[in-house]
Subunit: 675 residues, 2 copies
């Protein structure tokens, strides 16, 4: 409870009054949407990026689009197959970080963690930017103000998550199934119209594309390969989020691993279907799509420039507008669902980032405080850090998915690779001890799958690195290195402290006696209570201590002390410069010096108030004094609280907060039961 | 010690290593410059404002300038005479706030305090702005960037004061005497040149002034009177700072009151001499001076407009440039000294604001924490608040003294008036009991002087209010009302708490027994020490308490507990949701409920680290737990600290800080003796 509390309360509303956290497990039909938004939403921008890359060589290169789509689909199937092995081997939900740490050691684990942290930030930035871009295809007032809208959306997501969204199955199911129905419905209707021969053209069908300088006319073999590699790298953005299920196995109904594996396969199949549908429809409907920053490379059929203010709509928007050309609600439905699922994907990162932070904290790579679930601040800080980085990226790259995507995926493939490598080690290790024949055969099969997965993802990783490093991936890699160094530094610090704290024989010696002093500044209820409590502990010596900063009030207290017949001696400390803290600290030190094997117990009467502004007005001296005494060896500091009436409000507030719902609870199998 | 500490250390440099505060008293020759900068510096802008006001009616109104100067001088003499009575009656240095509180009650005292707080802010804003304006007369690169330079200067002053300036007599004496020598030397040399008939004209002598719309030609009697009243009000800015000595009587050598009174008279005489010299010289040398925002009202002799980029130099700058026309070092010396003394005057407010805050805190009108001298934070916060407000004013009024001056003086005259009224009451009350004839005669004389002073300042106050309210004084008055309401609210809160804390009979009952629990999270040195200390207090029941958030580590601790043969029972608390704090709080409550007359002593092992970033990494749970336990009745919380090696640095830092020099020490008779 601090100064910021009031403004937070205004901004975020009254905290949820809740009581008990319960546990419900997810059936597959709910688990799919809960974990799918991130993976499926990338269908909204991956095709766009493929077409943008191919357009560099002019429209003729579009012939490669469906081939690239199929290669991406193959990679995705491989990754899905690999992660199905992870899910079986690590049903605890630790995900890539756990797999890498257990099998490859700390350094690999921290590397994966850095990659994931960076990726969460990018998920927010890319998803929100793409969502705003899609919204711009339907809502003209968004066009030209994408950055502002994207930042606003991130802030709204931040506020929602700080407040504690009450997540439920429906929260995920409605938009995710809505998006699937929209895109697959569009594909089926498009296929139907193609079969009946009246598949319409998209709005950009009549345009022509001027290749980029150097790619005009006949281009070299090498340049073409590099171009296709870049297009493929961008298309691999569709793979992000596939690994999410491996973190959430504990939330599944039993048999957990089997259900998770099935859901993963389902997710992969749906994503591939949607991706290929969009790529093929776009190709068939004559889409022309270039980098929105190079719109001058588009020409009208007669060779003239585009009209001023031309806005290039996203691929999904162009297709759905054309397919549903006589039925505009269809268009609006698809675009709206696309926008919503992208925001949902961003929200996923808001859940994942603090959860990963808490796991890292438990392992000593992040401040320990982040590791306790009860800590509102921990989650809040995680959310704010994530939002801060995402806003910086959005502003720096003006909310352009095309530019942000250059930073993306590197992190994903770092963790794919290390995870697969870890899985190979895992199976190899288990094969050493396993004797059951059937089990061994399954393990061999699993290892083969993971090995193939590693080979595949390693190749993709190298391609991504080569094609994207200079285009922006270096920023993501730099950020990973910073996170990595930070986490290693924190771990080293904890290690050093732990070593310093190892118990040795001297620590078992009991202090010979206790000299208790009760700080007296006034004779009021808190002081009386502190005297009573101190007396109840029956120390060897007990005395009240009063710092004389104002002779007249000192005399008054001494007088009242006598009048009340308090049977404890009251010592007055002289303070020529009217300081309070120094005389007390020096007195404590002198007691300790006189008897080095004794312990000094300092009792501080405190009164407890309920509002942040009241806290500003009280107990500052007590707080500072406690801070100083902690540095004094042989001293223990006891706060004797006296609860003022107003403190009741604060106590209740804290109790509520303990039990309130936290972001990400659903995917960890926790729900809220209201009393 | 918080996160900000490192950046502060970088910005403000290493803290002074100091040891002992001493006390030295000021002889008159040093006391004069220490307290004079504020009062004398106003000579730098008061004449300018008089001429600006008169220029509204055209140059003919300049005939009134010396008359206005004389009226201001008379008011100043009256105020000086009145404050000489204050100094004798209240040698404790409480100043206007004390006089008003003692004689007129709390409301009057708080009113004066609000006025003074607002005035400190305005002193900074006006002095710095005027200093920058003067600098602009000599340094062309300052022209046109006054706001930026003024803000920069405030920031430099803030940093200096946060760091703790080592003030000394010379720090004040050199610039103050330098300024006196400059201005009075200029006046004497000017008088000499006038006597020998070659007094030169200032640079603006050949210009003509177009009166403001409505003041052209023959103006009405009423309009003229109003104009003169406004000019007089602005001239009264010269009175600010006269009261400073009444706050500083304790710093004078004995006989304190007599020396202070003499110094006050000296100060008044010098200020009047300087003010009248400047006004008369300006008049004789043909100065033409208008509001810098209305330069178009100035015309060249031939009626043509001023050349583009014309900069109107301050009155002091124009006079000194002309008087020393063959000797430019004279000009630069006067302008430099003017700038320096203005900055020194602003620095005065940086000393006065936190000191007044600490007095108000002691009386319960400000957070008590501000009242303790030892508190670095209290002073720092005062300095930062003052600087913040001053910067806002400077930016809002674009560092134009002419506009800022409209807000000034209201506060000064509020405190002048209430102080004089309080003095009249003071003498009347003393006359009731005094029997000595000579003493009674002196009191009658003093009361007469204060009555005359009140009459005079009341009239001036009404004039200032009438002429300046709409021009900006309303802002100052509004700010005073806000401060007033805030201080009264704080006082009411403290009153209410004090009532709630009055001891009654129930408070003397001793708890029947002590149930001590030691929190165990690991078995390391801090835990062992906490167990030993807790055992040394010999409670009725003693047990270790471990929250089971991770079964494997719980088992390990239980095992080690047995292995070490610790003869204290260890209780394990079940925590289904891996919370730490709630199970402990609930256990403490249950102990208390089972035995409502007993007391629960919770021992928390803590380790103490030295760097802010280490604190981020440790003890967050302990902190939060302590915060929660304080709200639980019947519980006392004991921190058992274990000092890590790195804590030594922090301990030393804190010890240094206790003894470091604070801004304003010199004028309270405190100096620093290095060991």
């Amino acid at each position: 409870m601090g100064v910021g509390d009031v403004s937070k309360r205004i901004l975020l509303g009254r905290k949820l009054r809740s009581s008990q956290l319960g546990e419900t497990l997810l059936p597959k039909r709910i688990a799919l949407p809960v974990f799918a938004s991130d993976a499926l939403s990338s269908v909204a921008y991956a095709p766009d990026e493929v077409f943008i890359m191919l357009s560099v060589a002019g429209v003729s290169a579009y012939a490669f689009s469906w081939k690239i789509g199929i290669v991406v689909a193959i990679v995705m199937l491989t990754v899905v197959a690999s992660y199905r092995q992870n899910v079986h081997a690590y049903p605890s939900g630790g995900g890539d970080y756990e797999v890498a740490t257990v099998n490859l050691g700390r350094t690999a684990g921290v590397t994966v963690a850095s990659a994931l942290l960076v990726d969460y930030v990018l998920t927010v930035a890319v998803s929100v930017s793409s969502g705003v871009q899609n919204a711009g295809s339907a809502l003209p007032f968004v066009q030209g103000h994408e950055t502002e809208w994207a930042v606003l959306l991130v802030l709204v997501l931040t506020a929602m998550n700080l407040r504690g969204v009450r997540e439920s199955g429906a929260f995920f199911a409605v938009p995710t199934y809505g998006f699937m129905v929209g895109v697959i419905g569009m594909a089926i209707y498009g296929a139907f119209r193609a079969a009946s021969g009246d598949l319409p053209k998209v709005e950009s069908a009549d345009l022509t594309i001027r290749p980029e300088a150097g790619y005009g006319g006949h281009i070299g073999q090498l340049a073409l390969i590099f171009l296709l590699a870049r297009a493929f790298s961008s298309g691999c953005a569709a793979l992000t989020g596939v690994e999410a299920i491996s973190n959430g196995v504990p939330a599944f109904r039993k048999p957990k691993s089997k259900n998770a594996a099935t859901t993963l396969l389902l997710l992969g199949s749906i994503a591939i279907t949607m991706l290929l549908s969009i790529v093929i429809l776009a190709r068939e409907m004559g889409l022309k799509y270039v980098d929105p920053n190079q719109l001058d490379r588009l020409r009208q059929a007669d060779g003239s420039a585009l009209p001023a203010g031309y806005d290039e709509h996203t691929v999904i928007a162009q297709i759905s507008r054309a397919v549903f050309d006589g039925f505009s609600p269809g268009f609006y439905y698809v675009v709206a669902m696309t926008g919503i699922i992208l925001i949902l994907a961003a929200n996923t990162a808001f859940n994942g980032f603090p959860v990963l932070g808490s796991i890292l904290a438990k392992d000593g790579f992040m401040p320990r405080a982040l590791g306790s679930r009860g800590d509102r601040l921990a989650y809040s800080n995680g959310i704010l850090i994530l939002a801060g980085f995402a806003v910086v990226l959005i502003v720096a790259f003006r909310a352009e998915p095309t530019r942000l995507i250059q930073l993306y995926i590197v992190g994903v493939f770092v963790s794919f690779n290390l995870s697969q490598l870890g899985m190979i080690r895992h199976w190899t290790r288990h094969l050493k001890t396993e004797t059951d024949h059937a089990a061994r055969r399954r393990m061999y099969r699993s290892r083969a799958i993971n090995t193939f997965g590693l080979a595949m993802t390693a190749v993709v990783f190298v391609i991504v690195l080569l094609t994207k490093f200079l285009a922006g991936a270096w920023i993501a890699i730099l950020a990973m290195i910073v996170f990595f160094a930070l986490m290693q530094g924190i771990h080293r610090h904890y290690d050093r402290v732990a070593k310093e704290l190892i118990v040795d024989e001297r620590d078992i010696v009991l202090p010979t006696r206790v000299h208790a002093i009760v700080l007296v500044s006034k004779l009021h209820k808190p002081t009386m209570r502190a005297l009573a409590f101190a007396k109840a502990t029956r120390p060897n010596i007990l005395e009240g201590v009063l710092v004389d900063i104002d002779p007249s009030s000192t005399d008054k207290i001494l007088e009242e002390w006598d009048k009340r017949r308090i049977d404890i001696p009251l010592k007055v400390l002289y303070s020529p410069y009217r300081e309070i803290i120094r005389p007390i600290v020096e007195y404590a030190i002198s007691i300790r010096e006189a008897n080095p094997r004794g312990v000094v117990a300092v009792y501080i009467p405190e009164y407890v108030v309920g509002h942040w502004w009241e806290q500003l007005l009280h107990n500052q001296t007590a707080l500072r004094l406690k801070g100083r005494l902690l540095f004094t060896p042989g001293v223990m500091v006891t706060s004797v609280p006296y609860q003022l009436e107003s403190s009741e409000a604060a106590r209740e507030r804290e109790a509520w907060n303990d039990t309130r719902v936290k972001a990400g609870d659903v995917r960890r199998g926790r729900t809220l039961n209201r009393r």
